[in-house]
């Protein structure tokens, strides 16, 4: 395979995807999924994850 992705990019992607999975899929989701939370909070959490991904890209873990 040609020009493999840099190790840094791969590690950062693993880390960030893992952190995002914790927020979304683990019991930690109860923090943002309480009955008294505003209805739009899941969308804000989602948006925050995307902003983080964009910042990660710009910080060097981005395009090859």
């Amino acid at each position: 395979m040609s020009s493999p992705t840099s190790g840094h990019d791969r590690d950062a992607s693993w880390l960030y995807a893992g952190a995002a999975t914790l927020v979304i899929a683990s019991p930690l989701r109860h923090l943002w999924a309480g009955d008294d939370r505003p209805w739009y909070l899941p969308f804000l959490v989602w948006l925050a994850l995307l902003v983080g991904a964009r910042l990660l890209e710009r910080g060097g873990g981005g395009e090859p």
Binding site: T5, G7, R10, A25, W39, P42, L50, A53, R54, E63
Partner: protein
């Protein structure tokens, strides 16, 4: 709203799509627009089908915010683009793979794997296609109250036509379909715009904005809590896992994400833009749900989107909402049909024995794909008509498909991360997982008793968590267990290394192919003349290779290129079979040592990260030994036991004027003359060393060859040959012999002239006395002739004596004197005429006696003798050599010209080099012109040479003219 209006709107919308696709396909749109990364991200939006457009609201009603999992899964998948998507993209691009079935068949070297994946995908996709037809036709029924049969058939025909026109233009699905991609991206925008518009109406119109929403919450206090509850209690994780895998495993996702000539840049751009698109698409779901509940509390939430749009009272919004649904369904059906057709073709039809040697192979393949596309679309519609359970929510059919597709997740992880995985493990796991899926989810669709009581055993009160858990657990366990039971085959190991981005083993052996043309001829036996010609030319053009290429390494690249191109047409396994069959290579044959060595070098160069520990030390040591061999000032040629060249170092490359790349991997009989024959003959003798003379270009080279058989300890055997270029040393030896001979001749001449001098003086004195005493005129005249002849003999003897002294290296003792050019030329001609052959050449002295030089007379005569002798050698018997002179700017120019055979540019360049000669061995030393050059340079002059092959040569010597007599004094140089 009437059926006519909806039909007209649909027709107009599709007309627009056809037009846009046509313009994009024909390049009538700017390339920057067509290839913009955003187009790629939006085309990934094909993920959002009618399930998203209509079904999300229904899903949200039953399972609250669980509907978001269907989009949060792809979001997580996109965050892992560098570790999952990018390796898949590079594999599919490098090996021209068009589908997941291709990828599995390539990695697991198993046709069965390809067949199983195709079946799994078909089984998972046909109900999903049916779901689109159901949503499209029911949306028509919701708005107009009718949905006639012909409408469904019309939908099917139009979608088939679009897929065929813009997705199956040629024989290969790897061709870029700009029109298709652009339209899919456009449809993503249309459904987003429609949903946001309906969401805005729901929020601001039906619910009354923030204040109205507050009132709604007071009326429905459980509205928000009922959304959040399933997040904590429902099968949240299961849905996330299913949608995570569906994001890149669904046939339509795989096709758009990897098979459409995607660039890395576009993929990375989609990392955020695609999830952002999904987020925006879902913003409207909750407001539409609440608005729909307020409008039709007891109605089907699956079509709240249409209900809300109708409640706005705007026909335009209703039509937009309806068109949004059409765009969601049509894009999904079209891309899925194209992707499934490609799988069916490569893994069901072609392996089933299709004859590839068709008259027009490409047209046949293209038509087969078109027919398969039509069959897939009609299968979806047929499933909807015959089997689709109309009372179940839309989301159920989508989730059933997701569970099927998820069965490929263990296999894909094996492709990317587990080298030990085998085709057997994959097939067993896939089959078992599929069986569980069928029993748990598919069979109830066809009326089998629901197995709800089973689910309680594994802790589920709904089917998807237990079905997913059980099917993936059985699948994964069998996959791992069976893979560990049996060692992977050599082919599996090789493919695993390629897929896991690790150094592979040696490349496969190249069959007995001597040229691209021969490869083309053999390919023609399998594919037909036209296809073989086209594929070979395409591979040559892609690789920038000449049709006359014969180097084994390049032929290996050509084979790999051909295999890649054919893989796009037939799939990886059939392409491999075709290429191997065309070369008649035994797949089990061990690669040649040269190939293994070269492959190892390539892999070490391409290592993604440096080796560590002992491997690193070994690599360093190996590089050191290789450099020693390569930089040895002796030519080294190592031959493997099968007679192929393994090592051909730089020195041998310089001696033979043949680069290592041209001969490595070749047997001796395929190496150009004279080397192959020379080495083969030498290896056949019992001598360990041998002297040989070869002609390389225009030059004769003296070589010393040595050989040694490699010890058995190397386990590889073979020979090593040393080649030493002894041309210069041999010439020096010959020069020494020549100098000795000249010195002997000089001594002989000196002795002879001394011995002849006395009697000659006596003869001259006696003849003079006799002439003076005689009175008879006739007798006096005869005696005078005797005197003239005696003086001539004396002149010859003196000249011979002086020349032999000069040739014996006595120039240092010579003195400077005034030399007449005409006189010197005459003397040189007399000397050259001593050789009998030279007397056949007419020598014309056209030099003026008035021109004079200051210099060592004997050495200058030697210059002229050498030039005249060369001119005579180059001239045929009866030829003419002319010597002319002139003076200008204080310089005298003497030109010796002949009309002989002339010289080649190569000879002309090297003619003044010491020991360079074109004469036969023993006929010349190669020092004549070198001596000329040195003598002339010692006299402050220059030598120039002009020669035309076949027309003759002119050598011009330019020397300073003699100074005024007063300034002239005798000195030593």
């Amino acid at each position: 709203m009437t059926l006519g209006i909806l039909g007209a709107a649909t027709f107009a919308y599709w007309l627009l799509l056809f037009l846009v696709a046509y313009l994009a396909e024909r390049g009538r749109m700017p390339a920057r627009l067509r290839h913009h990364p955003l187009v790629y991200a939006l085309s990934l939006g094909v993920y959002a089908s009618t399930w998203t457009y209509y079904g999300s609201v229904g899903f949200a009603r039953h399972e609250g915010f669980s509907f978001l999992t269907v989009y949060l899964g792809p979001t997580l998948a996109c965050l892992a683009i560098p570790v999952i998507w990018l390796p898949i993209l590079r594999l599919t691009r490098e090996h021209q793979l068009t589908s997941l079935a291709d990828l599995f068949a390539f990695r697991y070297r198993s046709q069965l794997a390809g067949v199983l994946v195709t079946f799994v995908m078909l089984a998972g996709s046909v109900p999903y296609l049916a779901l689109q037809f159901r949503a499209l036709l029911e949306s028509m029924r919701v708005l107009s109250g009718q949905s006639p049969l012909w409408l469904g058939i019309g939908f099917t025909l139009v979608l088939t036509l679009f897929a065929v026109l813009f997705g199956a233009r040629g024989a290969s699905p790897r061709e870029r379909h700009d029109g298709l991609l652009f339209v899919v991206a456009l449809e993503s925008l249309v459904k987003l715009a429609a949903l946001l518009a309906v969401g805005a109406v729901a929020y601001f119109g039906v619910l009354g904005g923030p204040r109205g929403l507050g009132d709604y919450f007071r009326q429905q206090p459980d509205a928000v809590a009922s959304l959040y509850r399933p997040v904590r209690e429902g099968p949240w994780g299961t849905y996330l896992l299913l949608s995570f895998s569906a994001a890149f495993l669904l046939p339509r996702q795989f096709h758009v994400a990897f098979a459409e000539h995607v660039e890395d840049r576009a993929l990375f751009s989609a990392r955020v833009t695609f999830p952002l698109y999904l987020l925006m698409l879902n913003l409207a779901v909750v407001p539409v749900l609440w608005a729909g509940t307020r409008l039709h509390p007891g109605g089907s939430a699956d079509f709240y989107v249409l209900d809300v749009s109708r409640a706005s009272g705007s026909s335009l919004l209703t039509i937009l909402a309806f068109i949004g649904g059409i765009s969601s369904g049509s894009a999904m059906v079209i891309v899925t049909a194209i992707a499934l057709a490609s799988m069916c073709m490569n893994h069901l039809l072609l392996p089933a024995g299709l004859r590839l040697r068709e008259r027009n192979l490409y047209q046949t393949l293209a038509w087969m794909r078109r027919v398969l596309i039509a069959l897939v679309v009609f299968a979806g519609y047929g499933f909807y008509r015959l089997a689709l359970h109309r009372t179940r929510p839309l989301v159920d059919f989508g989730l059933i498909s997701f569970v099927t597709v998820a069965q490929c997740l263990p296999g894909l992880l094996g492709v990317l991360f587990w080298r030990r995985a085998t085709g057997l493990g994959l097939s067993l796991g896939l089959f078992a997982g599929f069986a569980v899926w069928f029993a748990a989810l598919a069979a109830p669709l066809f009326g089998a008793p629901d197995s709800a009581h089973w689910w309680s055993l594994v802790g589920g009160n709904e089917p998807f968590f237990p079905a997913t858990f059980l099917s993936l657990a059985v699948n994964g366990l069998l996959f791992v267990g069976a893979s560990l039971l049996r060692q992977p085959s050599a082919e599996e190991r090789e493919a695993a290394r390629v897929c896991c981005d690790e150094p592979g083993s040696a490349s496969r052996p190249v069959g007995p192919i001597a040229s691209p043309d021969e490869l083309r001829a053999r390919l023609a036996l399998l594919l037909g003349e036209a296809a073989a010609e086209r594929e070979t030319s395409r591979a040559l053009a892609t690789l920038g290779m000449a049709a006359t290429e014969k180097r084994p390494a390049e032929l290996r690249r050509l084979r790999a290129g051909l295999e890649r191109n054919l893989s796009a047409l037939f799939g990886p396994l059939i392409a491999r079979l075709v290429v191997e069959e065309s070369q008649r290579v035994d797949p089990a044959a061990a690669p040649r040592l040269g190939d293994r060595l070269q492959s190892l070098e390539e892999q070490l160069r391409a290592l993604p990260r440096p080796l560590e520990g002992t491997a690193s030390e070994l690599e360093l040591f190996w590089r050191y030994l290789r450099d020693v061999l390569e930089d040895l000032p002796l030519g080294v040629c190592a031959l493997a036991a099968d007679g192929t060249v393994v090592i051909w170092n730089h020195a041998l490359g310089a001696i033979a004027e043949t680069a290592s790349q041209a001969v490595r991997g070749c047997t001796l009989d395929r190496i150009g003359e004279p080397w192959g024959a020379l080495f083969a003959r030498f290896l056949a003798t019992s001598e360990r060393t041998e002297q040989a003379t070869v002609v390389v270009g225009d030059e004769r080279r003296a070589l010393q060859l040595s050989k040694s058989r490699l010890s058995a300890g190397a386990q590889l055997g073979g020979w090593v040959l040393l080649v030493e270029d002894r041309t210069v040393a041999r010439a020096l030896e010959e020069q020494l012999i020549h100098q000795d001979r000249l010195a002997s001749i000089g001594q002989l001449a000196a002795g002879l002239s001394h011995e002849l001098g006395n009697p000659l003086t006596g003869i001259t004195c006696v003849a003079q006395n006799l002439r003076d005493d005689l009175t008879d005129l006739e007798t006096r005249e005869r005696v005078q002739q005797i005197l003239d002849l005696a003086r001539r003999i004396d002149a010859i003897v003196r000249t011979l004596l002086s020349f032999s002294r000069a040739g014996a290296g006595q120039s240092a003792a010579a003195t400077m004197s005034r030399v007449g050019v005409g006189d010197a030329v005459r003397e040189a001609i007399a000397l050259v005429h001593i050789v009998p052959r030279n007397r056949q050449i007419e020598m014309l002295n056209r030099c003026s006696d008035e021109l004079t030089l200051d210099g060592d007379r004997q050495r200058l005569i030697q210059v002229l003798v050498n030039l005249l002798a060369n001119a005579c050698d180059a001239s045929p018997p009866g030829g003419q050599v002319e010597v002319t002179s002139d003076q200008a700017d204080g310089r005298v120019r003497i030109a010796v010209s002949d009309r002989g055979r002339g010289m080649t540019p190569n000879v002309r360049r090297r003619v003044f080099e010491p020991f360079f000669t074109t004469k036969d061995p023993g006929a010349g030393t190669g020092l004549g012109l070198s001596l000329v050059y040195n003598i002339v340079r010692d006299h402050g002059g220059e030598v120039a040479l002009e020669s035309v092959l076949g027309a003759g040569t002119v050598v011009t010597v330019e020397l300073p003219a003699a100074k005024e007599p007063a300034a002239m004094s005798e000195r030593t140089p």
